[in-house]
Point group: C2
Chain length 379, copies 2
Amino acid sequence: MGGRAVGAKDSRGRRATLQTVADEVGVSRTTVSNAYGRPDQLNKDLRERIFDAARRLGYSGPDATARSLRRGRAGAIGLLFTETLSYAFADPYSVGFLRGVAEVAEASGTGLLLIPMPPRAYGPAGDKDAPVPPGNDDPETAVRNAVVDGFCLYCVPVGHPAKALIRARGLPMVTTDERDDPSIPYVGIDERASARLAAEHIVRLGHRRVAVMVDQVVAPGTSGPATVEEQLASDCGDLQGRLGGYRDALEEVGVDWRSVRVVAAGRNSRSAAASAAAHFLDVADRPTAVLAIGDVLALGVLDACEQRGLVVGRDISVAGFDDVPEAERARLTTVRQPMGEKGRIAGRLLLEPPEEQKVPRIKLPTELVVRATTGPAPH
Amino acid sequence: MGGRAVGAKDSRGRRATLQTVADEVGVSRTTVSNAYGRPDQLNKDLRERIFDAARRLGYSGPDATARSLRRGRAGAIGLLFTETLSYAFADPYSVGFLRGVAEVAEASGTGLLLIPMPPRAYGPAGDKDAPVPPGNDDPETAVRNAVVDGFCLYCVPVGHPAKALIRARGLPMVTTDERDDPSIPYVGIDERASARLAAEHIVRLGHRRVAVMVDQVVAPGTSGPATVEEQLASDCGDLQGRLGGYRDALEEVGVDWRSVRVVAAGRNSRSAAASAAAHFLDVADRPTAVLAIGDVLALGVLDACEQRGLVVGRDISVAGFDDVPEAERARLTTVRQPMGEKGRIAGRLLLEPPEEQKVPRIKLPTELVVRATTGPAPH
DNA sequence: TTGAAAGCGGTACCAT
DNA sequence: ATGGTACCGCTTTCAA
């Protein structure tokens, strides 16, 4: 066997390019380019000769970046997360959504670029149309440098500068946040009405003393009870929607929302929720029901109840949101939302931007799934 | 307020570029470029004036693709999966690994490009040094078009053409497959020795009739018992390693490996494992112990046992591998491997390629974690 | 069928 | 502190 192909350098140690191959074969760059990109534009023999030469020279085909530049297409879409990527993968709900996006991306040969946007202080929200003053470091840099054809926003707070930046780049985006800028295509669920389903179920079972578990209200990592003002100040649309739904159902039967303990776990994790549950589990007037804005949190509450010897479904009721796979195993009452479908639609919206002038706002159906963790209010 | 900034087009409907801004301000492209990339190269006033003009023109900063081309750096690393992306996210082990990679990528402002390589037939493995004949569609296209600075291979079969392609592109890569080409930097664990820990534990408890649960041997989706020949023909290094470890320990105490039922779930999922478990659970000479090559599979076996009223740890023993978070909750005996650390090291290897000539081959420590699912062999 | 020339949008080096 | 100039590697008219 001859000398083994070394990296992708030509004999003089330079990376082989189209030109290198063209010279070797004695044709023009165009022809070589065509050999790869438009096989029908040249005769089969020549094409073979070109590939031969390419192989010999260690040329592995047109450079991806250069091609992207010239074509004006990156061949990838960006997934923008607020959370550290690390956390994004921790919730089965996120994973379900991601899978949906991935499916359609895959099908169209498009890559998925994960873009972390660690929660950081960012300036006041005003002046949304003006591109963010450049020169900042994170997270603007990430958005600006992303080689993508569009962005899928996932849990990006209302008013986040990334949106202005993306718009300024002239790239399409899609959000899953109901309360977001109406000019951004949206796919999601009716958060408020869906949350209401869970709360109505609880109310129907006779519960009047309820607590609510959320991931975070004021700032990431801050756990404990949150005041009504703090709740309303949150910049997370989903949170607002779900709390609103709970509130609707509870106020309808005369429960004062201020009497409802809303507790933040600090982050969206089972163990954090289990700890934070102490805020309402270990007090005198323990609630008879707990509404968690996500299943992962609900599972944590379940853990906490178990630790305290409470029989869930009898001594206390717990309802979640999402219907992640674990929910079934835990017999958790919850609200099912089609996370995979949400992701697929989001992906499609990005890959095949609809013709119509109207900004798409798609709402997917949800459904209450009653299992074993909810039961009649004690006494 | 004035007309709102429309996308990123200038007054004549063209995308604004460096030049546009330069013309507007009356400076050269270089200066504008410096305003963004090297703030210290020009005076503050001018910089402000440039940003002003940029804002006015709807210019959102240097184009990512162009910058990548010129700089010769993509600012992202590719994550190559064999599985459909969809499955990749389903296993907490993968997620853990991914988080590790993500962490270091994040820290260095590097993006993560997910590249799906759906299992498809690909030609014979021979001739690994020759770049794959171009012109094919998937999955070569994905690798060739990926705008990245390096690749992290994750569960890519030995001999997969992607490797030759990456080498031909002259990009660095790292694998987690022990049996892979020794010229590819590697980080992982001693699969064989680690699996042996689990099997030895089982043997020590007196078990001699054992079954093994794997995800897939011959082809994805094919479930059921696998012959020894099929096992040895698998192109998945991890599988081979773990089976080898089990075999070592069992043969050491005189168990004939051919008597060990090795059952494939068809895919790496809890429910698939639960179903496939019927192949050894519902037969006359039911094994007293089950070794699963991954926790997700082990959890499925646990489900299957529960369905049949078997008390795990007494009637039958089950040991997993990985030590995913759920394992603790299920009190599963397993082998712990540092998945996050594995990911971090892989990421680092890619981002800061070591100086040394030697190809890095890093083995991380593992440890047997004995919980409640294993007990003495009955009788 | 093949080739020449003109960019795609920037960055880096070297002068000024 | 600025600007000129070359070039990153490819694709795409358009003409031969």
